[in-house]
C-alpha cells in the first residue's frame, strides 16, 4: 500500500437483484477500473443506465496508468472530471532523452498554442478512478456494486446471463449487453475461452514509485545506458503528491523475487538519485511486458474494452489511454442501439475501428520495447548507432524510440465514414478526432465544448432557419455549431479554427458523438449531412465492390 495515499473503501451493499430472480439490465459492465468506470460514466452522460460489477471495493492499488494523454483529457473534460485532473495532476509537454551521462535531445509533444489540454497530465490511476466513481454516483444512472465477483457467464440467444458471488451469497442477472472491462487477467475472457496471444518480452523492468522533494522539472526523462544503470534504460516521471515514477530496466536474467526486495531496490534508486536525496519507497513491482490482443472484441452480446481486449507495454502510455478511447468509441454506439435508433450491427463498427487502433498501439509499443531492449547484436548496433548520431545530428532523432507517446487513432478505413469528395488542405479527415481550438468568449472557451452529446454539424458561415429545422428533426437530430459572426455563433477571432479546419464559407464537418469526423463538405448540404449521419449510424451500407 503506498505511503502517500490511502485507498478509499467503498461499501458493499445488497441490491434488489439479490432478493428476486429474473433481474435484467440493459448494460452490465464487469470491472470497476478506469475503463469500466469510464464506460459507465460515458453511458450515463448519454442517459443510459448501467450496472458495474467489481470484485474489489476500492480504486486502483498502486499508481499504474499515470500518463493521461491529450485525447483522453478531452474525453474526461466531456465527462466533467478533467479539471480535477488538472488541479491535482502534473502537466507536461516536454521530454528529454539522455545517453549515458549527457542529454542528446529534447522534444515537445505539443509545440503549438491554442489547445485546452496539454500533451499529458500525470496523475496516479487511483485519483482518476476516484473522480470517475464520483461522476458515476453523481449521474444517478450507475449502479456500482462493489465486492460483486463474476462466477459464471452464459450467452443467451439475445443477451447474457451472469452468476455473481457476493459476501452474502450468490445471485444471477441477465443483460442485453455485457461490457468486459476486467483487465489483462479478464475473467470474462477466460470464461468464454478466448485466445489472447501475442508477443512477450523477456526483459524485466523494475517499476518503483518514490516519494521525495526533488527539483526535477515536470518533464519525461528517459536514459539509455545511464551510469546508474549501465547497459540498461531508465525512465522518470513526476506524479502528484511529490511521487516520482521510476522504471529501471533489469535485463532478461533478473530474478523478479530478488529484485523486488527493498534491500535490492533502494541501492538501485540511491545510485540514480544520489547519496543525499531523502526518499521513501512508495510502491514497487517487477514486470515483463507483452503486446497482444483478442482476435475480435465483440463476441455476440459481450464486448471487450481496455486491457481485457488488448495489452501493450507501457512505453508510450497506450494502455490506459487506449482503453478510454475504446469506451469513447463504444458508448454512443451502445446508446443508439439501445434506443432503437441504430441497428445492432453498429456495434460491429467498434471492432472495425478499435481493432486497427489496438494494432497501432501494439505496433508502436512493440517497436519501442524492441528499441529499448534490443534482442540481438544487430538490433543493439542499430539502436546504439541511432543514439550516437542523435547527439549531434537532428536527422537521427526520429530514429530514437524511447516510447511513441499515445495519440488518438484516426479511423481511416471506417465503414462509418463518408469519403471526402471535396479537396481539403488541412483539417481532420473522416475518421479522425476533432482538433481543438480557442473560441473567443469572456473567460475563454474551447471549440470542443461546443460539440453536442449527439451528432454536430460544424459549419463555417450561415445556416438558414429552414435548414436548421431540418437538421433538428427526427430521433437523432444534428446539432449545429456555426463558426461566424451571427448571434449564437462561435467566434474565431484568432482565425485558428478556420486554419485548423481549412474552413471557408460553406465548409461543413459532420462530427460524431465521440467527436470524430464522420464526413466533411465544401458546401453546406442538408441531404448530404443526413446521409452521412445515417452512414455513421450503420444505417447505410455500401454495396460491396
Amino acid at each position: 500500500m503506498p505511503l502517500s495515499y490511502q485507498n478509499p473503501v467503498y461499501p458493499y451493499r445488497r441490491n434488489a437483484d439479490q432478493d428476486r430472480s429474473g433481474g435484467h439490465h440493459p448494460v452490465v459492465i464487469v470491472g470497476g477500473g478506469m475503463v469500466g468506470l469510464g464506460m459507465a460514466v460515458d453511458l450515463a452522460w448519454r442517459g443510459v443506465a448501467s450496472v458495474v460489477l467489481d470484485d474489489n471495493n476500492t480504486v486502483s492499488v498502486g499508481s499504474r496508468a499515470i500518463c493521461h494523454a491529450k485525447r483522453a483529457l478531452e474525453i474526461y473534460d466531456r465527462w466533467g472530471i478533467a479539471d480535477r485532473l488538472r488541479g491535482k495532476g502534473i502537466l507536461w509537454n516536454l521530454g528529454r532523452v539522455f545517453l549515458r551521462d549527457r542529454q542528446i535531445y529534447d522534444f515537445n509533444l505539443q509545440p503549438e498554442e491554442g489547445h485546452a489540454w496539454p500533451a499529458f497530465i500525470n496523475l496516479q490511476q487511483y485519483y482518476l478512478e476516484e473522480y470517475l466513481v464520483d461522476a458515476a454516483l453523481a449521474s444517478g444512472l450507475v449502479d456500482l456494486r462493489w465486492k460483486n465477483e463474476v462466477a459464471g457467464i452464459r450467452q443467451l440467444p439475445v443477451g447474457v446471463e451472469l452468476d455473481i458471488v457476493t459476501p452474502d451469497g450468490a445471485y444471477s442477472i441477465a443483460c442485453d449487453w455485457l461490457i468486459a472491462c476486467d483487465g489483462a487477467g479478464s475473467v470474462v475472457r477466460r470464461t468464454l475461452g478466448l485466445e489472447f496471444d501475442g508477443k512477450i518480452f523477456e526483459d524485466r523492468f523494475l517499476i518503483a514509485d518514490v516519494q521525495m522533494k526533488a527539483e526535477f522539472p515536470t518533464e519525461r526523462w528517459f536514459w539509455f545506458d545511464p551510469p546508474f544503470n549501465p547497459g540498461q534504460s531508465a525512465l522518470l516521471h513526476r506524479q502528484a503528491d511529490d511521487v516520482f515514477r521510476i522504471d529501471l530496466q533489469l535485463g532478461a536474467d533478473a530474478d523478479p523475487e530478488v529484485e523486488r526486495q527493498p534491500e535490492r531496490v533502494i541501492p538501485r534508486l540511491r545510485a540514480m538519485l544520489g547519496p543525499d536525496m531523502p526518499f521513501e519507497l512508495d510502491w514497487v513491482s517487477v514486470y515483463t511486458f507483452c503486446c497482444r490482443r483478442l482476435e475480435r472484441f465483440r463476441h455476440g452480446r459481450v464486448v471487450f474494452a481496455g486491457d481485457s481486449a488488448h495489452q501493450v507495454s507501457p512505453f508510450g502510455a497506450r494502455g490506459g489511454n487506449g482503453g478510454v478511447q475504446d469506451v469513447d468509441n463504444l458508448g454512443w454506439k451502445l446508446a443508439l442501439v439501445l434506443s432503437g435508433a441504430a441497428p445492432e450491427s453498429l456495434i460491429d463498427s467498434y471492432d472495425a475501428e478499435r481493432i486497427p487502433a489496438a494494432d497501432e498501439n501494439i505496433l508502436n509499443s512493440t517497436r519501442s520495447t524492441d528499441f529499448i531492449s534490443p534482442k540481438n547484436g544487430a538490433s543493439r548496433a542499430f539502436r546504439d548507432a541511432a543514439l550516437e548520431l542523435a547527439a549531434s545530428h537532428a536527422f537521427a532523432r526520429p530514429l530514437v524510440n524511447s516510447g511513441r507517446l499515445s495519440r488518438p487513432h484516426a479511423y481511416a478505413a471506417s465503414p462509418l465514414s463518408t469519403a471526402d469528395r471535396d479537396a481539403f488542405v488541412a483539417g481532420p479527415a473522416p475518421g479522425a478526432p476533432l482538433i481543438d481550438a480557442p473560441v473567443e468568449a469572456a473567460g475563454g472557451d474551447w471549440l470542443l465544448h461546443h460539440m453536442a452529446t449527439g451528432f454536430t454539424a460544424l459549419v463555417f458561415g450561415d445556416v438558414s432557419p429552414r435548414d436548421r429545422a431540418r437538421l433538428a428533426e427526427g430521433p437523432v437530430p444534428i446539432s449545429l455549431c456555426v463558426v461566424g459572426e451571427g448571434a449564437g455563433s462561435v467566434r474565431d477571432a484568432a482565425g485558428l479554427i478556420a486554419g485548423r479546419y481549412d474552413g471557408r464559407a460553406g465548409t461543413t464537418y459532420l462530427v460524431r458523438p465521440d467527436q470524430h469526423v464522420a464526413a466533411r463538405f465544401r458546401q453546406f448540404d442538408v441531404a448530404a449531412l443526413l446521409e452521412a449521419r445515417d452512414r455513421a449510424m450503420g444505417r447505410v451500407r455500401e454495396a460491396m465492390a
Binding site: 543493439r380 548496433a381 548507432a385 550516437e388 548520431l389 536527422f395 530514429l399
Partner: protein, 66 residues
C-alpha cells in the same frame, strides 16, 4: 518516383574501399557494427527515400553467397 541506381557510378572505387576498411582498423566487433550502422543511417538520410533504401537492402541481401 526515385529508384535505386545500380549501374557503376564510382570513379575511385579503390580509394573508397580502402577508406572503409581503414575506418574499422582499430575497432572491436561491436564498435565496428555501430560504425556500419551509423554509416547506413547517414546514407539513408542522404537518400531521403525509405523505398530506395529498402530497394538497396534487398539488393544487398540478395547478393549474399550461400
Amino acid at each position: 518516383m526515385n529508384r535505386l541506381l545500380t549501374e557503376p557510378r564510382l570513379a575511385r572505387a579503390d580509394d573508397l574501399f580502402e577508406a572503409l576498411v581503414e575506418a574499422h582498423r582499430e575497432l572491436d566487433e561491436a564498435a565496428s557494427d555501430r560504425l556500419h550502422a551509423r554509416l547506413v543511417f547517414v546514407l539513408a538520410n542522404h537518400i531521403g527515400d525509405e523505398a530506395v533504401v529498402l530497394e538497396a537492402l534487398a539488393v544487398a541481401r540478395a547478393a549474399a553467397l550461400e
